[in-house]
Symmetry: C2
């Protein structure tokens, strides 16, 4: 393991590519002097961005050429089989070869998961890796998984997500026993679907700090640290929250832009609106972890801008420092063993 984190950045991934990723790398290089970054992709395009930003290629900021790019809508299997020199694949290979300590990509999620799983391999005891992200809540933040890597998850998979989520939250937040909740519905008549009912006893019998069922609104009220769910449910939950947040922002703009008078009020309220906006800025939470693999890879939102992408790099650095895969591996044996008894 290298002394200071070395992050391999898929510089071509995402909706925009080097224009965003190199600028984000520049931001990180300026913020921290204990991190090395390797920009992976078309050498000439990356170099052009580096020149544009008056940066210098150095030991801390280097380029690794890769001749291909995985398309955003490419089938994962095709990316894996046909694009062996893609920026994504080369970044992941660098980690696998010990030349970097984590990879970050804003590229195609499915291809990234397939490639990382193929190259890194899953940790012993983990059937399926999961995607975990951090979301703001009224009192701090909540970790949530799975967000779409798995659908129709088995009870055993949900239990593994809980273990991975708990260990990771504990490591990155420096807390001992994060509260783990299983996402369920609150209508009085029901106690969940078959999936949730089957997972409940596994969680109850574990030595996780399992607090029971939680509902969708609990994700955002600070009553739980790790929310566990199937990837279909998690993805719908996340996108629904994003959708309503966007609508609220839209209506706020509409009201402040209604006429000259309201525009003036908007100007006066600008400092407050700005700190409010900063507070709910989803870019701060960019960077989802692909958990359950032997090494680290962070998925950035495809539409990330420079600031958002730099946050994904930050997540990668934190997970390297906290040695997340090693933490999961060492806890996994104990927790799964206890569960099997």
């Amino acid at each position: 393991m290298p002394e200071s984190p070395i992050i391999a950045i898929d510089a071509m991934g995402g909706d925009i590519g080097p224009e965003v990723t190199v600028a984000a790398a520049s931001r990180i290089i300026k913020q921290r002097n204990d991190v090395k970054l390797i920009l992976v992709g078309f050498e000439d395009r990356i170099k052009a961005e580096i020149v544009k930003l008056n940066l210098e290629i150095s030991d801390r900021l280097s380029i690794q050429h890769a001749s291909e790019v995985v398309d955003m809508d490419e089938a994962p299997a095709s990316a894996l089989r046909k694009k062996k020199d893609s920026s994504m694949r080369v970044a992941i290979n660098l980690v696998h070869e010990g030349k970097a300590s984590a990879a970050v990509s804003a590229g195609n999620t499915g291809a990234l998961m397939a490639t990382a799983k193929f190259v890194y391999k899953t940790l012993p005891g983990i059937d399926r890796p999961a995607i975990m992200t951090t979301l703001p809540n009224m009192k701090g933040h909540t970790h949530m998984l799975d967000l779409g890597a798995n659908v129709d998850s088995s009870a055993e998979s949900l239990f593994q997500f809980a273990v991975m989520g708990s260990v990771t939250a504990s490591a990155v937040d420096n807390v001992d026993n994060p509260r783990v909740g299983l996402l369920n519905v609150g209508a009085e008549s029901m106690k969940g679907n078959a999936q949730v009912k089957a997972a409940e006893p596994l969680l109850q019998n574990s030595n996780l700090n399992y607090i029971g069922f939680v509902e969708g609104d609990d994700i955002y009220n600070g009553s739980v640290d790790v929310v566990v769910c199937d990837g279909f449910v998690g993805n719908v939950s996340l996108k629904s929250a994003e959708g309503v947040a966007k609508m609220i922002g839209h209506f706020m703009k509409v009201e402040f832009k209604r006429n000259l008078f309201t525009k003036l009020i908007g100007l006066i309220a600008l400092p407050v609106l700005k700190s409010f906006k900063k507070r709910v800025d989803h870019r701060r939470y960019n960077g989802a972890s692909l958990l359950g693999l032997k090494q680290i890879v962070i998925k950035s939102h495809g539409g990330a801008d420079e600031y958002a992408f730099s946050k994904a790099i930050d997540v990668a650095i934190l997970e390297v420092e906290k040695r997340v895969p090693q933490c999961i591996e060492s806890h996994l044996g104990v927790l799964l063993e206890k569960n099997r008894r």
Copy 2:
């Protein structure tokens, strides 16, 4: 069918009871002169509220005594078997007996569904009733179902939800072919869980205006009129959106209350903040329909206040005027028949 809508109101249901429900009834009586309301529950408690509000018992506002109340956490089967004189049951009976045209309750959802299903019966061709609500979107509103009546729904059930949702949206919104979407996940690697994959061909082969898969954020952007999903998924989606909206509201308050200066700005911005608040006021959308039954019953949020509960009564009135169950029944035969071919 009575000439003007007669709404049987479970006056005891919800977290508060007559204090809210009678006040809401009073609001409706003042707003409309073509509606009759029957308040169902403890006669003395309802009378006391009527006196408090300076109302008069009349042909338009009457009381039907009921000696029991279904608890908010009571098991549906127990409510159905043991509380045959509950305010909820009596309100539904009034509709069944033709003495009212629709029932409204803020009580226990599971008990309401079980009671309505038992007394009203489901429409021919419908296996399971569903809960549908209206949600705001950037351009108007979206109808969404199921929100929790069913978990682990079959493909056939999802198809029936689509038919009921489409017919109801068409009736209440006066539109010919509302756009129907099936809620799915957008991660590039996946095309949904088993449930959604099985329902897709049924929708594609129907003569609904089926626009394909939609994602969680589409619920709020105005790109679809009717969003169809399993009740587990729908409930999580709705609660997640509620949770994030509450958090956003909380942070906005925090920022405006930070210090004297920001409080002053808040005062200046009050007119804009008020119209914004009105715009995203979830109370306006209170009142969910239990669809697929032979008669009308509207579920209000248990925590509804006077204004919110009056909105649920409005939904009941609209569905009576638009003859929603009859519309569903007459379209159902055709649509399901086409589907079977």
